[in-house]
Amino acid sequence: MNPLPIDPKNLPLVNGDPFQGNLAQILLMVILLGAVAYLLLQHGLIKSKMMAWAGAGLFAFAALMAFTSIPMQLDSLVRMCFSILAVAGGIAFITTREPVHAALGFATAVLSSCGVMFMQSAYFIAAATMIVYAGATIIIFLFVLMFAQKAQLQWYDVQLTSPVIATVVATSLLLAIAWSVSESGEILPVKLDLTRPYSLAETGPSPGTVMPPVPEASMTQEQLNAFVPAKTSGLGRSMFTDYLLAIELAGTVLLVATLGAIVLAQKPERDLS
């Protein structure tokens, strides 16, 4: 451990806190506005320019709202840069026509997310994401793309299938995430379960700790040790006990995504009539 002498939480706010405390409502509004903007944009691109511009404007408004409503500290400026980069990478991923550019956009999004995780002191998950996604998965994508690149896009590559369903699903997902993060900064008390011998519950943070836990200079070494498993064995145990569900869920999501990719990859029969 290398405790910083300065608590980053005491850093001055950069922009003040204009919407004191109403973060949940603001987030809800931003997400709903964004959803409407997306639908407008999608329909506008097909039907009229005016609608597309309106959608883009609404998007910009929602982004501005989110930007101004989030209390900013010095370190959150860096975090914000990473987030913007991640969003830009994601947009590049779904909008570029060149498959290799799309893969690189994905890589940008993943790496920027890793940056955000680093800023949140989630080193392990950041490094693991970097190795697994940026270091292996996307490189395999690129490998395949370089081999199997087609000269032209097919009609099913550019056709919108069901924007409304996509928007609804994405909005509900975002709402779920927003709801879970706007739970007023406290983590649920961890039950001390001695029947699980290797659980982090033995050494985990005490109930009511503000997340992310910040080491303070006044803490004893024992308290500091509680933040991180002392050994890599602790890391492994915690991964397979405390975070077992999350890890298995992540694996399942990947499996489902693979299945989805296989389904999508089948060339649809073109309706000749």
């Binding site: 290398n2 300065i6 010095l74 290799v100 080193y123 190795i131 270091g135 002392a230 890599t232």
Partner: protein, 396 residues
Amino acid sequence: MIKSLLEFWPVLWPALAAIGVILAVVPFLGLYMTFVERKIAAYVQDRVGPNRVGPFGLFQAIADGIKIFLKEQLIPDHVFTTLYFLAPAFSLITAMFALVVMPFGPVATDYKDGFRFVVAPGIDIGILMMLAISSLSAYGIIIGGWASNNKYSIYGAIRSCAQFISYEIPLGLSILGVIAITGSLNIEKIVEAQSGSLLDWNVFWQPVAMLVFFTAALAETNRLPFDLPECEQELVGGFHTEYSGIKFVLYFLAEYTHIVTVSFLTALLFLGGWHFPGLPGPSGASTPILLLGLGVLLAKVALVVLVIILLRWSLPRFRFDQLMGLAWKGLIPLGLINLVGVAIVLSLGLPKHLLVATVILPVLAAYYSAAKFNASMASTDAMRQGLSPQGAVSYE
């Protein structure tokens, strides 16, 4: 904001100083490693090597540097310009960024304020971080090869993809044994665990892991036995066919930075880092002791660099299927079995030096593969001679 930055200053300046050291030394090192490599290559081939510019040709590297900086910036018409320019930069950025958590001198694990021989001390996932960042170094090559929009370049990029993905696995597997016994991903703690006698160095109880690590790491650097992505005889220049001048320098600097990184990692993880029998550890040590430790570490690193350079002039290049076979059929099984051995020793509480016995693994593997090879040769022979019923029809 400035006030808070000033408050950070005592924490900030050692990191900035270490960054300065790395930024100053690495390009210089890259420049002079080309010189050392040329000299060694010359001696191995019974030549003299560069000896015209300056005493013993020492200024040759500088002359080369000046020349290549002043070269014409050639940009072919058919490249995808943005990515074409981005790729070499990305290559060097990833190569240098991996040095962030790497101690380049003795670092005590009770981190004190003041200058330390590492940019970011006490990162609990140190080695994982290094692996993560160096796994990104494939991007520079892949993007460069693709953006060159040239068949040779893209072949280099594709080969590089396959090679990187394959050799990441044994690289990770070989380190896992060390990590499991040390119980930490922190590089300084891994080195700390090797203090004491000579026999505490990881190489003496993880010889197979070191072999696998060194081979895989060499493959990640694209050095000669593994330089399929840029082999001149087949692919002109591979991924850097279309690069010249300063952009080419960035690629080369990245490659040499990789060699330095790999050598440092080998020395830190397996050769005891800055420890040497009789030398006190860095914790609370005086400056001369620290400098002595730095010298020990650098000597070990120089030894590894020397081996890497000599290997280039003693081994021929792999064929691509041999390259893949080495990773998937040789290194990965060895690494896995070695890891299982470590797990058994750890969970049964046996003394860790029993793991020396893992040297039997490659011998067994060699016995097996020799037997397999001889059997297949014999059957082919019988087929050719028409002795086996198969051969009577398959020949003609």
